[in-house]
């Protein structure tokens, strides 16, 4: 099946070294957002960028490990959501393989995919662990209002979660794509782990002459 090709890469040293850098970008993205007092998490920019640059393994591992490290050092409450970060990285990697980020319809599709993965993935966790709440005041008040108004809990929980994901992942995807195309050409070619022809060639094996 086509999608599995996105995963068929030998993780070379360059890809492995890229993962910690993407993890650091995840952290920095969040730190800069905090410094600018922006009301968003923006902690997955490195994950998405890594996926677009180098595929689902790099993106997925970056997301997973970012979450592990932050759970162990600053925010254990985020720990169960490591699997969601993993999924976001994988989704970005698959989209990167198919080049969604290169066309406008593709970019919209990428954004929608990431929002769906984040919101649909987090909702069961919210319901099982945190009474259906996302932990964000705005979303949680939506939840309260909807449940009080008779809506099903799962739907209220989803809307709660999505209300946070929709803006957060929008900026995340936008920033990741802007940065991706803001990189010099040779970086995009350098990190691409798939053997492709086109404007981004991966290093080819040397011919014996």
């Amino acid at each position: 099946m086509g999608i599995l090709n996105a995963f068929k890469v030998r993780m070379n040293t360059l890809a492995i070294v890229l993962i910690p850098v993407c993890i650091a970008i995840d952290w920095a993205g969040h730190a800069v957002a905090s410094t600018l007092k922006l009301p968003l998490f923006l902690d997955s920019i490195g994950t998405v960028l890594g996926g677009l640059l180098a595929g689902p393994w790099v993106g997925g591992l970056a997301g997973l490990i970012t979450n592990f490290i932050s759970s162990g050092t600053v925010d254990p409450i985020a720990a169960p959501y490591s699997v969601i970060s993993l999924a976001i990285g994988i989704a970005a990697g698959i989209a990167g393989y198919y080049g969604w980020h290169k066309t406008w319809p593709g970019r919209v599709a990428l954004y929608i995919l990431i929002v769906l993965v984040a919101s649909i993935g987090s909702t069961p966790l919210n319901m099982g662990l945190y009474g259906g709440q996302s932990g964000l005041p705005f979303g949680d008040s939506l939840y309260a209002g909807m449940v009080k108004g008779g809506w099903p809990t799962w739907l209220a929980s989803y809307i709660d979660e999505a209300s946070g994901d929709i803006p957060d992942k929008l900026i995340t995807v936008v920033v990741a794509i802007v940065i991706f195309f803001g990189l010099p050409n040779r970086y995009r070619a350098l990190f691409s782990v798939w053997r492709r022809t086109g404007d981004e060639k991966a290093p080819a094996p040397a011919p014996s002459v």
């Binding site: 910690p20 040779r186 070619a189 060639k201 991966a202 290093p203 080819a204 094996p205 040397a206 011919p207 014996s208 002459v209």
Partner: protein
């Protein structure tokens, strides 16, 4: 006949999507145990030569390789860089990006290479202690690598390589970050290695240093070898004088209109000027 350690046969190499070759028509035979200095202006292809000997060109960079590079009997195309690292070491110019970035202590950083090679723990510790002493960083053993100065880092990087006991050592400007004392210390280490039979290929800008240390010099200009021989021979050639430069003593002797061949080393030139160093 000395078994050659590094052989370049009609080698040309172009980086991926580069308009022209970085090196062309390279023919070099470096014998086991030789200490060869490589010099030339910028973009002469000196670093590329090291990358070719290590195998990073073409394996890491892609690009197009013509001809054959054979190190210690194995062709570079036929062996992976990590496999090559058992016998060949390459010291890069930039000390800051050369460290692993995954170790919190200097001694653990030195141990990184041997550990990757599966060396037994007891021997790793032995090698670490020995190489740290050799390059003079034993006192820094417990420090965090990121707290070190540029010069200390470069010595750390060298220790990390020496701990793998390479037969061939490729050095790309190993003392660029070091002060004169640190530089002298490193060259003493290299001298010791040379005596015990390690083949050393050293890229170095400082021509005086090169002449003092290396019995053989290869001068490169524009990706080609323009001179290959003793310092006296090499700096006697016009193309080298114009495109590469001269050690300061040689230039002095030339402008003082002393007869050729001009001295290339401190002691010789002192004698030539009639003021022999005791």
């Amino acid at each position: 006949m000395i078994e050659p350690a590094v052989v370049f046969e009609d080698v040309g190499y172009a980086y991926q999507e580069a308009p022209r070759e970085a090196v062309s028509d390279i023919n070099l035979r470096i014998g086991a145990g030789e200490w060869v200095g490589i010099t030339g202006p910028t973009n002469a292809g000196k670093s590329t030569l090291c990358l070719l000997a290590m195998g990073l060109a073409p394996h890491f960079f892609g690009g197009t390789l013509r001809g054959k590079v054979t190190v210690l009997g194995t062709e570079s195309r036929a062996i992976k860089v990590i496999e090559r690292s058992t016998d060949v070491g390459l010291l890069f110019q930039n000390p800051f990006t050369q460290i692993s970035g995954a170790r919190e202590r200097v001694d653990e950083e030195v141990a990184f290479g041997p550990e990757c090679h599966g060396v037994a723990q007891a021997e790793v510790e032995e090698r670490v202690e020995e190489t740290m002493r050799l390059v003079g960083i034993s006192a820094l053993a417990a420090r965090h690598p990121l707290d070190l100065s540029g010069g200390q880092l470069q010595r750390l990087a060298l220790a990390g390589l020496l701990a793998m006991r390479p037969k061939v050592l490729l050095l790309d400007e190993p003392t660029s970050q070091l002060d004169p004392a640190g530089t002298a210390a490193i060259f003493e280490v290299l001298g010791g290695l040379h005596e015990s039979g390690t083949t050393i290929v050293m890229v170095e800008h400082r021509l005086e240093t090169l002449c003092e240390l290396c019995p053989r010099i290869v001068a490169m200009v524009g990706g080609r070898v323009v001179a290959d021989g003793t310092p006296q021979d090499v700096f006697g050639r016009e193309v080298v004088q114009e495109r590469v430069g001269l050690p300061v003593y040689t230039r002095l002797a030339r402008s003082a209109a002393l007869p050729a061949p001009w001295p290339v080393r401190l002691a010789e030139s002192a004698k030539a000027f009639g003021a022999p160093i005791a």
